[in-house]
């Protein structure tokens, strides 16, 4: 085991800032890629509803 306790794990032997910063960026980028399809689906549905309403009126 490279780390004895949780604070050592967070400090990463002095490189904590670099390691956690890059993992945070990765989380943001991957998170965006996971969320954006869902947003696109919602957008499609909204546009479809709008079109239906326009056709009815």
């Amino acid at each position: 085991m490279p780390f004895e306790n949780i604070s050592e794990f967070i400090a990463m032997g002095g490189h904590g800032l670099y390691v956690w910063l890059s993992y945070a960026i990765a989380a943001v980028v991957i998170g965006y890629n996971l969320i954006s399809p869902r947003m696109a689906k919602k957008q499609l549905y909204k546009e479809h509803q709008r079109k239906l309403r326009r056709e009815q009126s």
């Binding site: 780390f3 794990f9 390691v19 990765a26 980028v29 890629n33 499609l44 479809h48």
Partner: protein
């Protein structure tokens, strides 16, 4: 054998068939990717041993290398899909090529950003004009070009074909770019960065790295299927079955 392949190819190139068949695939691939990547990252962050020269900062490798690999693989995917679209006029190939652009762009960005952060503790600089970094930067610029071209075209069909041609130009150029960048970086700099070359890795670091690469690839495949399905819905919205599908999106 060939006949079988052609039939399989035609089946998969029909948007409706693809839409139906890819659903279970993206589901299972997605969960497998999540499982494998999470395992790899927990392993890499918490349990892999400390590297002798770089200390703990080397743990960035578990996202840096997979994203760098993936960004190059995605560009080749785009070029192949674009070529298929241009040669056999298959709409689905164009859709795949189009939705791969933002995926590849984000991976190239991630590789550059993590590389820069890793460079600070290792080399003492955020940015070094190293061969790999420079080629990755150019790859990101190529992605930006593709994305801008898609956005600029008024009709999505012409955007598809234009971007396919551009992707072909780019993919022919990638080896030349790498070669030339290698030339300029070795001309100007003494070889101080030699230790960035692949040192023989210990197995306890290699396994989480390979797992992470596998997980990233699977995640890419899953996301590609999901996004292609949405692109099908968006582009084929005049078809009746597509309108029914969109109708059902609201129920979920």
């Amino acid at each position: 054998m060939w006949q079988l392949f052609v039939r399989w190819f035609h089946k998969w190139s029909s948007p409706k068939w693809f839409y139906e068949m890819s659903k279970p695939w993206s589901f299972w691939l997605g969960w497998a990717a999540l499982l494998i990547t999470t395992t790899a990252i927990i392993w890499g962050l918490g349990f892999a041993p400390v590297e002798r020269l770089q200390g703990n900062s080397y743990r960035i490798i578990f996202i840096h290398v997979p994203s760098a690999f993936l960004s190059e693989a995605i560009y080749v995917t785009i070029a192949i899909a674009g070529a298929i679209g241009l040669i056999w006029r298959i709409k689905l190939a164009y859709y795949v090529a189009k939705i791969c652009v933002p995926l590849g762009m984000s991976m190239a960005f991630l590789a550059l950003a993590t590389g820069a952060i890793w460079g600070k503790p290792t080399w003492g600089h955020w940015w070094v004009w190293d061969m790999r970094i420079t080629s990755m930067l150019i790859l990101l610029l190529l992605y930006i070009g593709l994305w801008a071209l898609h956005n600029a075209m008024e009709r999505p069909e012409s955007g598809d074909r234009a971007a396919a041609i551009l992707a072909l130009v780019g993919v022919v150029n990638i080896p030349v770019i790498k070669f030339s960048v290698n030339l300029v970086t070795t001309l100007h700099q003494p070889a101080t960065l030699k230790f960035t070359e692949k040192a023989p890795m210990h197995i306890s670091m290699l396994i989480p790295l390979l797992l992470s690469i596998l997980g990233f690839y699977l995640a890419f495949l899953a996301l590609m299927l999901v996004r292609s399905r949405i692109e099908i819905l968006r582009r084929e919205r005049k078809a009746k079955w597509v309108q029914q599908e969109i109708e059902q999106l609201g129920n979920r």
